[in-house]
Subunit: 165 residues, 2 copies
């Protein structure tokens, strides 16, 4: 199973303002939409799920098979308790590739467990003095191989890395 | 006075590990050296000064005129108490361009006061689960214009931005 993490960040590594606001570009959203449609699934945390649910965002990205990782009990079979369970569920559904897309706690959990194979970072032209980190504080240190850089728009650059294991 | 901030960061925005370790590439150091030699001065915080002092790093970058911003009293005339005083001192010395190079608290102070004109970020191929942030937490939000991207080595990419004011 190949696990791909995809996030938009400020040039200093924040995935949102402290109030969850994400002033990202249309070009960034288009790029994310394309990969979400291609892969056909999405693994996200509960809060990211709630935010996306408010805006018809799942529809915009082709209603991918969505797995929500949450500590809370939930009878919906798409809610699981851990990254490993999310991978298992998507394996059972026949997927060979998984798209992980936030928030910072879920990203960090996947990284700390060594489960991520590739990462796309769309670097948006902002610096925030505070915000929500790409990875919630955790114990890991990973080397990367730069696979590709792509200019998504005048001011937005995409960095595509392989995680070295 | 043009103020340029130059830092190496992980792909998730850390300028060092929590223990101050910075496993950056030779190509990154060469790029920094070149700009330091060109500009001829350096504004850094006290801790960055102490770290650079241990390693003959000032010599390697051409012994630039170095101003240290510190809260502590110091009789050395190159120690000042604020970013504004650093700028004033370098203006008096005849410089028209200033190089700011960390750490996170000094960078953040320059940003929060709106004193930075351009920023170079050498994105090194690492992800740290924890570390020292490019900007210590502060109240600011800045838009950027991407001026140039430059591949410093196979896995290191330099992002060069103008700060929009």
């Amino acid at each position: 199973m190949k696990v791909v993490l995809y996030m938009a960040i400020t040039a200093n590594g924040y995935i949102a303002k402290e109030n969850d606001e994400t002033p990202w570009s249309d070009e960034e959203w288009d790029s994310f939409s394309n990969i979400a449609k291609k892969i056909g699934n999405l693994v996200i945390g509960r809060k990211t799920f709630e935010i996306m649910n408010q805006d018809d965002e799942f529809q915009q990205i082709g209603n991918p098979f969505t797995v929500i990782v949450s500590n809370k009990e939930n009878n919906n079979s798409n809610f699981v308790n851990s990254p490993e369970q999310a991978i298992k569920l998507l394996e059972e559904k026949g997927f060979s590739e998984i798209l992980v897309a936030g928030g910072g706690m879920l990203n960090s959990s996947f990284m700390q467990k060594g489960l991520v194979d590739e990462i796309y970072l769309d670097v948006e032209p902002f610096l925030f003095g505070k915000g929500i980190k790409l990875f919630a504080d955790n114990e890991f240190e990973t080397k990367l191989e730069l696979l590709e850089t792509k200019q998504l728009s005048k001011n937005t650059i995409q960095l595509h890395y392989r995680i070295l294991k």
